[in-house]
Amino acid sequence: MKAIESEQMKENAENFCVGDTVKVFFKIIEGTNERVQVFEGLVIAKNNGGIRRTFVVRKISYGVGVERIFPLHSPRIERIEVVRRGRVRRAKLYYIRKKVGKKAKVKELIHRKNA
């Protein structure tokens, strides 16, 4: 019963992983008109399950770290584009908040040996 409920509103595709750099095309409603804003950054965490699934995107904007939490299944997310894959060894990358410069701010990329 419960399962049916949440499934109903679900779109598919969770096509990115923690550590990836993504572009989120997010619809913003300003008064009457609607426009799409792009938020590009690193996925540092994913939380919850089902319809409540969310992910956190972090970017550095004018020298200030900005994090944004998006509900994965939100109808306001038009699409999510993966810019590049990252190689990480943990599920939550909260440690990078404290790192500056090259020190892990640049995360290892591509080299996806398997797949």
């Binding site: 419960k2 409920e5 949440s6 509103m9 409603i29 319809i51 409540r52 306001r76």
Partner: protein
């Protein structure tokens, strides 16, 4: 008054038209059968009696079964709704669709039992500080005055049994009515645990 008997399924979240997540409680409304109707002439008031959820045959006594005679199978829950806003005939089955045009409802149920609860939990008393040498933690404090009146007034709020009582939450917004699944979604929480039986009525204050 428009109402139905339902079952609390649980809570989830739903995206609304603006794409915002809204917390909702899902209420399953299984076929509500009109068991009988009361009218002015015969009973002195008008009402509709609804029954829901079949009762196990072996637990039905003959006197209990009598009220369902020729109408339907004996039901577990029988509720009388005064001055039903809708023309109903005995034997008619009502579904969620009657809430289609209604935007706010009141939900009545039995709240979760909390057992014997202290003043802080039961009445929201502040209690004392936890540390710094305090010996006054979760007590309720004074309950009365001094030599006059020299007694504690009746009804003074103290520790005691909390929960497991009939509770109504008013003015809950109807988020969605799904006829196919016989489900009603209201914004916010309703009393009681999942699987408990609730009475959903059209909001009296809206």
């Amino acid at each position: 008054m428009l109402g139905l008997i339902g079952k609390k399924v649980g809570m989830t979240q739903v995206f609304d038209a603006q794409g915002r997540l809204t917390p909702v409680t899902v209420i399953k409304i299984e076929g509500n059968v009109v068991v009988s109707d009361r009218n002015e002439e015969k009973n002195g008031y008008s009402a509709a009696v609804l029954g829901s959820i079949d009762k196990k045959k072996s637990t039905v006594t003959k006197p209990y079964a009598g009220q369902f005679k020729e109408v339907c199978e004996p039901k577990q829950h029988v509720v009388e709704f005064r001055d039903y806003d809708r023309e109903v005939a005995v034997g008619e089955v009502l579904g969620v669709d009657i809430f289609k045009d209604i935007s706010f409802v009141d939900v009545t149920g039995t709240s979760k039992g909390k057992g014997f609860a202290g003043g802080m939990k039961r009445h929201g008393f502040k209690g004392g500080r936890a540390t710094h040498g305090s010996k006054f933690h979760r007590d309720i404090g004074g309950t009365s005055m001094s030599s006059t009146p020299s007694r504690t007034f009746k009804g003074t709020r103290m520790a005691g049994h909390m929960g497991n009582e009939r509770t109504t939450v008013q003015n809950l917004k109807v988020v969605r009515v799904d006829e196919e699944m016989q489900v009603l979604m209201v914004k916010g929480a309703i009393p009681g645990p999942a699987q408990s039986v609730v009475i959903v009525k059209k909001a009296i204050k809206k």
